[in-house]
Symmetry: C2
């Protein structure tokens, strides 16, 4: 997978992956996440963090309205995305990527209606920082069973 995925090259329409900068020294690090003046900024409704224990899979989820801007500052996470939208050029496609430092500190953008799931693949908990375009609304998303036959991916 390319270091930088944009709309033109993405295997799933609207999904993008951008390199993020980390400035490290002996004192620690500053890690970029999202700027409102970035071309790929879709708006801000809420920011939150999701911590996942080693080995745990959280899948599948699908949002109807929000676009997500995710990065993994701590630990290492496997992401799997599925385009179940009818009528897109990439319908039926699966996209996988691993996020984590130092080699894969990147911004993953997930548009509405794309199914996604993730698994912590580090020995310590993985932390996702996420900025989404609208404040959390439980009626705006749905959960799909992890073993749903509608999604052509089997979690390991």
């Amino acid at each position: 997978m390319d270091d930088k995925l944009d709309r033109a090259t993405s295997p799933i329409e609207g999904v993008a992956l951008y390199d993020l900068k980390v400035f490290s020294d002996h004192r620690g690090a500053v890690l970029h996440h999202l700027r409102s003046d970035a071309a790929h900024f879709h708006g801000f409704g809420e920011s939150y963090l999701s911590e996942t224990n080693p080995g745990v899979i959280k899948a599948w989820k699908r949002h109807h309205r929000i676009t997500q801007h995710m990065a993994v500052p701590v630990g290492r996470m496997q992401f799997v995305l599925f385009d179940g939208r009818p009528g897109t050029a990439t319908s039926g496609n699966v996209f996988t990527c691993v996020l984590g430092r130092p080699d894969a500190y990147k911004l993953l953008i997930i548009p509405p209606l794309v199914c996604y799931g993730f698994q912590c693949i580090s020995d310590s908990p993985g932390l996702i920082v996420n900025a989404v375009t609208h404040p959390h609304d439980p009626n705006e998303s749905e959960t799909i069973p992890v073993n749903s036959p509608a999604i052509p991916y089997v979690w390991g």
Copy 2:
């Protein structure tokens, strides 16, 4: 210090501290940070993370324009704030607080022109998640020496 500090009770005008929710189970946790529909939301310009190694002090910093919304999802951090603004009712005041889970997962709001610094007081690196009202601009902030006599606080 109260669990919830608002403008009316803050020892420094404009500084506030709000409880944040954490939803934990055996799989991990979801940690709130900031919602755009919160009464204390000051706007979104950028989100980033700052990781500080154990024992390291980063002080002092003062921003001219941005308001900050900080929380500590990983590790434990000592914060010290100083009101060096002339003409405020709280001018000259120092405010200290410790942020970290599980007892002090809170949102710290720092307005422009208040000096601040922090130290990692956990055995592992501390992580600050911060949302600020304007994208980073190096000309918008200043650094003040950690031992400046202008600030009545001595770092341990």
